[in-house]
Symmetry: C2
Subunit: 338 residues, 2 copies
């Protein structure tokens, strides 16, 4: 078991290393933090911490740097979430408030997050599966051609053009539109299939084929578009990554281009609560030298999507977590308002 002071030493090491990016030695530690003990004592503690695998030496005559296990302990037990200052919060709110539509909200969020954390930001579009239907619109383009427009409560809009098996009158269309909306408006996507199951029965025989086509297109759209989208930004911050550039940065850029990888990454990260994945805790090996801080955000109490940042394992965890949490909150508010 590690004594209180040893944990304190670990915290000090992490903080210093994150600040300076250089291995930290016992003497420097006692000077920068008043631990109340001598360098020699700190050395003993460091030896113990190294035995436990929380810190390591790059080479024999260098100071210590935290291991992934060390960061893990730091995040779990030693560090809180650093709250944003009032001006920062105001700035966040102001910046997000100007958004005109969902794309804009996501775009602003990603820029904001990248700027606040000085790292790469990733923002997932509100998921369709967890959204509710605000409205379904049907437009007649031609006698046997209908456009289906699906609008979610988070502001996402999807549309499809449907070729009907038979001409479909305006009145039937209006009827279908009304019935459809009365059933699904305000309901969750997941529930839609059951809700519309028996809908064709309410129509004349000659219209049933068209109604069925429209419904199946609707369901199809729900499935297809449930496929998540996301936006990334702040890749220029990758240049602050480290010294051994090409090797570190390349796989990260590759991972960032593989949206599938990122979506899986965000998906794996628990529920809506804040998740920190450090180094090899990330399954995708291109991201083994990075940490990912993510959190769910949503318009109501429940998360509709995730956002987060990707940065070096050596990152300012409390600050990053604070920024991520704050941004998620305000984005949730913005979405709830619209």
């Amino acid at each position: 078991m590690l004594s209180e002071r040893r944990l304190e030493v670990l915290r000090a090491i992490v903080q210093d290393y994150v600040g300076t990016e250089e291995p930290v030695g016992s003497k420097a530690l006692t000077e920068r933090h008043n631990l109340g003990v001598s360098p020699a004592t700190v050395r003993n503690d460091m030896a113990a911490l190294e035995d436990e695998g929380f810190i390591a030496q790059p080479h024999t005559s260098a100071g210590r740097i935290p291991t992934e296990k060390g960061y893990r302990l730091f995040v779990d037990r030693l560090a809180g979430v650093k709250p944003m200052t009032a001006p920062e919060r105001r700035a966040i709110q102001n910046f997000l408030d100007g958004a005109v539509d969902l794309d804009d909200v996501v775009g602003r969020t990603v820029r904001l997050l990248a700027q606040l954390t000085r790292q790469v930001a990733v923002v997932q579009y509100p998921s369709l599966t967890r959204s509710t239907v605000r409205h379904v619109e049907l437009l007649s383009l031609a006698p046997a051609r209908v456009m289906l427009v699906l609008i979610t409560d988070t502001g996402r809009v999807e549309q499809r053009v449907i070729d009907c098996p038979a001409p479909f009158g305006e009145t039937s269309l209006a009827d279908l539109r009304a019935r459809l909306n009365s059933r699904v408006a305000g309901r969750r996507f997941a529930d839609v299939p059951q809700l519309v199951q028996d809908l064709p029965d309410a129509f004349e025989v000659e219209d049933r084929g068209t109604v069925a086509t429209v419904l199946s297109t609707l369901l199809e759209t729900l499935v297809e578009e449930a496929e998540e989208r996301l936006m990334i930004g702040g890749t220029a911050n990758l240049t602050r990554f480290g010294h051994d550039f090409p090797l570190t940065i390349r796989p990260v850029l590759e991972a960032l281009e593989e949206q599938v990888v990122l979506l899986k990454l965000l998906g794996e990260a628990g529920d809506s609560s804040m998740t920190v994945r450090i180094g090899h805790e990330n399954k995708y090996e291109g991201l083994n030298s990075t940490s990912v801080v993510s959190v769910g955000y949503g318009s109501g109490g429940e998360a509709v999507a995730k956002l987060g940042v990707v940065g070096p394992t050596r990152m300012d965890y409390p600050g990053t977590m604070g920024a991520v949490r704050a941004v998620a909150r305000y984005v949730g508010q913005i979405l709830a308002e619209s």
Copy 2:
């Protein structure tokens, strides 16, 4: 005036340097290309080329590398466009043929181009200034809250939530919807402002404020929508850039995130014909160490947008130009089909 052989020497220098990334000396040149003359002669030619500013020496005892002026001459007079091989062309076509919608076409194009050229690819979405309005939908969310949904003939959908100055009844809403659509459906974006100008006059006094608000939001949306979008990809290829990483790569990443910069860049590049901008020919200084190869593409004879790649000035110009041209052609075909 430069003799034929000297141009030949320049071409050889560019080719070798692009291949090896190392300054090329007179001896190596005579060995790798059979110029039919001795190294000493080549040295004289090199001295002349250097006097003219086409090549330079990094340091006294090193070989020569092309200057931007040298690349310019190479591109203008010494190099053709290397055509794609038949298998390559087939691969391009196959890859693009699978696209299901516009987003997919652009996404595939950007990936393809990045892969073919091993550089950063930029693809602009087809310009919307020539688009027409397919339908305008108005939905009542609350007594004084309306959602505007705009659908274009290219399949793009934009929506805005509008807070009305006064409550707006369902019948008024239906009236506005009908009048609006009868005027603007099928018309070009550019014509919409005049078409709706006198629309408020047709309504009761108490509704005019709301109608005006809706219209101004519509016009605003049209303007925003017409603003071009683009997609980039292959940023991981930036790692192949050179040795002095952080300094070179950072401004490029920053430029790539500034879509405005890129749009301007593509916009400046002449009409639809292939344009090559080398180093400082790019106005934006973050891209001063890069070359941009771009070309217009379109479904018919006319270009609707541009695409291209951003790479180091030391790039394989003939190959890159060949790939860019080929991809642009096939994308044009795909768009024409759909």
